[in-house]
Assembly symmetry: C2
Homo-oligomer: 220 residues x 2
DNA sequence: ACCTGAACACCGTTCAAGT
DNA sequence: ACCTGAACACCGTTCAAGT
């Protein structure tokens, strides 16, 4: 009984579409992206999405196929964003670092989408534009071939991992459990334990690893 | 109509339990772990699990509470495993590297569980035993306090990332799309592109980054 | 061309009932 | 103490039907 509370859902901003009331595929993508980024992938149900858009569940299927295709569309949007990054800096090393940092901040803004892309095996495609740009810089230093490939993958691994770790760190911190809370209270190195309690320094960890990689690239 | 094909499901190996037919909480955990590791978390439905065990869905709830508690239990089992790692090697640096490598291989064996632990913000707890052991080695080198914390986190980030990337790499490779397939076919550095086509060298990428980190630790 | 409700098979979970 | 079926609210998806 009482199937749904379907009562003129106020209608969500139709945005660019000129005709009223009806919904475009782009509207669906946008609304879906909003839900995913704010509440995670699991929160994206077709019924919730249709509620947000003020249409029947089934009309979403007309626009985007099904849930799987919808998620694919979201990932595609993220990948398109990756092509806008441009390196800055005077030396190749600086430009590589600049690319890595831009990549990191871009991914941090869309963390749930990054996870989604990873689950769907689109991580390689996600990194492609940056890899191409980085390859150019590496060639400038004289690093090509297998060595360059290794350096590229090293950088790639480093960036994505610090994004993932930062998310985990932020969430643990927000619900109170810090890394250091797990450590034995009588550990001799109290400054170490204290440092692990500082939740905000994942940027530093990132720079630390980036520096390590760049040094190794410059002195093989 | 035809609710389920509930026909004497042959009964799964009851293992250690002495009484026949009935099921222990440990049986449930084991069966669930098998499903998760073989087919991923999404494949773990309560009904499939109960089918595997040859009991009614509802009896699972008696043993483990609900699905969420079940997943928690699986993660706990993974964390317990982490305490068994022991460093080997003559120098502190070698012992640190040894710990990182053991951690990596252990996590690679339980990749789905690692993802699960990460989603549930248990990554810090997962790394705790290794971190403690590594801290001892770092102190031997003379690295303590904030510097040691940074090194620990750097190592932690590196290990988990290479595990995650290796999974992504393996899956992309298995369904045919290699990193390098995305690159422009006319890219000047053909050896680089060829290197990116070799799917098996994630171990090398891991060692590369590990080496970079250890060098940086030794020369601050 | 676009939207709709009804209907399907599938979830997780609760509960009263059995032994 | 353990297991069961019935029943609930919730999914994704299909389809015939509307305009």
């Amino acid at each position: 009984m009482a199937a749904t509370t379907r009562v003129a859902t106020g209608r969500v901003a139709t945005g660019t579409s000129s005709r009223t009331s009806s919904v475009t595929a782009d509207d669906v993508l946008r609304a879906a992206g909003r839900i995913v980024e704010r509440h995670g992938v699991d929160a994206l149900t077709m019924r919730r999405l249709s509620d947000d858009l003020g249409v029947a569940v089934t009309s979403i299927y007309w626009h985007v196929g099904n849930r799987d295709a919808l998620l694919d569309g979201l990932v595609d949007r993220l990948l398109a964003r990756m092509e806008t990054l441009v390196p800055s800096g005077d030396t190749p090393t600086e430009r590589i670092a600049s690319l890595a940092r831009q990549l990191r901040t871009t991914l941090l803004e869309r963390q749930h989408l990054v996870g989604l892309a990873h689950e769907r095996d689109r991580t390689p495609a996600m990194f492609l534009p940056v890899q191409l740009a980085m390859a150019t810089e590496l060639a400038e230093i004289g690093l090509t071939g297998a060595d360059a490939a290794l350096a590229l993958r090293g950088l790639q691994v480093h960036v994505i991992s610090s994004v993932l770790m930062e998310r985990a760190g932020a969430r643990s911190a927000s619900h109170g459990t810090l890394d250091a809370d797990l450590w034995p209270i009588d550990h001799p190195d109290r400054e170490l334990v204290a440092s692990l309690n500082d939740p905000a320094d994942y940027a530093t960890v990132f720079e630390y690893g980036l520096d390590a990689l760049l040094r190794r690239i410059l002195t093989p």
